[in-house]
Amino acid sequence: MSVKTPSKLEKILSEGHLAVTSECGPPRGSDPEAITKKAELIKDHVDAINITDNQTSVTRLCSLAACIRLKLMGLEPVLQMVTRDRNRIALQSDILGAASFDIHNILCLSGDHQSFGDCAQGQNVHDLDSMQLIQTVRHMRDEGKFLGGDEIKRPPQMFVGAAANPFADPFEIRVPRLAKKIAAGVEFIQTQCIYNLDKFEAWMQGVRDRGLHEKVYILAGLTPMKNVGMARYMKKRVPGMDVPDEIVERLAGTPKEKQAEEGIKICIESIERLKQVEGVAGFHIMAIEWEEKVPQIVESAGLYPRPKVD
């Protein structure tokens, strides 16, 4: 796949390196250090850092401002943008705002439903859905035009990503759904946290059967478990999450003070196994409020040092 943007992430992927990305959740306040400190912890071990957009619908400092903080540190942000909170005017406007700071990566999402967050009584917008947001960014970038048809002066130059959840239902459309996102113009994918590796590999088989792995870079998503309580919570309470019993049992069978270490170990083992899966182009490590563990995971998984690209 040829390089279409100045994105460092795109360059690393196009050169055939296994990419490593991670993410930081912005604070529930305006202290910029909440972002910069997290970024400091991981910056040497990842190629790009996602900033989540009011994840789980809990109101936080905005993704765009946090991405600008990273940019000012000389880092490579991935602007996450959900369609829940903004209509097409606001989405295009924020894309231009990000582009004005030369933010070169965007992840297009629909977003968790607002009923999970702190504003359950709020409206949701969903003027566009995630696929239509992908189309919108590609249209703005490639045609240099707004959705309304007018020309954009200095169009955004963004490498366009989206999420994929191989574990949500119905499973039979999970590969067709990826094909649909590719048709919409997506260029990289960060998957839902993978715990059920068998199911992920079955999905990847379907992806390869259709040659989709040659049309999009797939970064396998991983979240280390801190303890058995987290595993149980994710299994039972987080929609679209597939945590097999073996993971829960393995953590339950580990003494409490060693469970965090075991969680990291499971994560590293998963990366080792996923490296062998044809079509996996890298890893997206979502260490939720546990960013300090990212360097250890990256190093132990043999993904360090990170490649240098111009």
Binding site: T83, R84, R88, S110, G111, D112, H113, S115, F116, N124, H126, D127, L128, D129, S130, M131, Q132, Q135, T136, L147, A163, A164, N165, A168, D169, P170, E172, I173, P176, A179, K180, A183, A184, Q192, P239, G240
Partner: protein
């Protein structure tokens, strides 16, 4: 039909505090079917208000009447001769009926007696569910006759999202995932290949977003 639900009695009592002569006005259409505002509900509400007035020691006149419809001038004319007897009307029609009644009788306070909820269907007695949001540009032909605007919590045109689990929506395990229904239906019709057709960005100008809407049919106007 338009589905409505009864308002709490306390709320209605709160509206009526300063009124002495009240008409409870039912509607024989949708709200009768969904058992929120028909003749029976008019009787029940009137009785409850009379009992409350008695308890509070208030001398209040409360009458009952149910019209064929409140969304039609013709039927609203039926109360023109009696409306002056009342200083308030509690309309148990949908929000359309409440407003249309108020437009006809500008000098009388018209209160809503129900919460108008959605356009839906009777699944069984006591259970009504939403099917349509009146977006003004029907796309059911492409979605296996299941509407993602009305039935997906994120109104995704290219769903399902990653929260669909065992056929249910991420917001509530009792809510069907619209996109699971769409996929099931396309499969039953042997049209699952249609799933991969991208649904284009929607023109919402025919929806609420475009402002108050009207349908003009000159061919049937007299």
């Amino acid at each position: 039909m338009i589905v409505a639900d009864k308002k709490p009695l306390e709320e209605i009592i709160g509206y009526l505090k300063s009124h002495k002569s009240i008409l409870i006005l039912g509607c024989n259409e949708c709200v009768t079917v969904c058992e929120a505002g028909g003749q029976k509900e008019v009787q029940v509400l009137a009785s409850a208000l009379r009992m409350n007035a008695l308890k509070e020691g208030n001398n209040v006149k409360i009458d009952e009447l149910t019209l064929e419809r409140q969304c039609d001038h013709e039927y609203l004319e039926e109360i023109r001769d009696v409306i002056d007897q009342y200083d308030a009307v509690v309309s148990l029609a949908c929000g359309v009926g409440v407003q249309f009644t108020a437009e006809q009788y500008p000098s009388v306070m018209i209160y809503p007696g129900v919460n108008t909820c959605f356009m839906g269907a009777t699944e069984k007695r006591g259970l009504w569910t939403e099917r349509c949001q009146g977006c003004g540009q029907c796309i059911l032909a492409t979605t296996g006759s299941v509407c993602p605007v009305a039935r997906c919590a994120k109104r995704l045109f290219n769903g399902p999202c990653g929260g669909s689990t065992a056929g249910k929506c991420e917001i509530n395990a009792e809510v069907d995932c619209a996109w699971q229904l769409i996929v099931d239906r396309l499969k039953a019709l042997d049209k699952l290949d249609q799933y991969e057709t991208l649904c284009p960005i929607k023109d919402w100008s025919t929806d609420r977003a475009g402002g108050p809407r009207k349908v003009v049919r000159e061919d049937v106007q007299q």
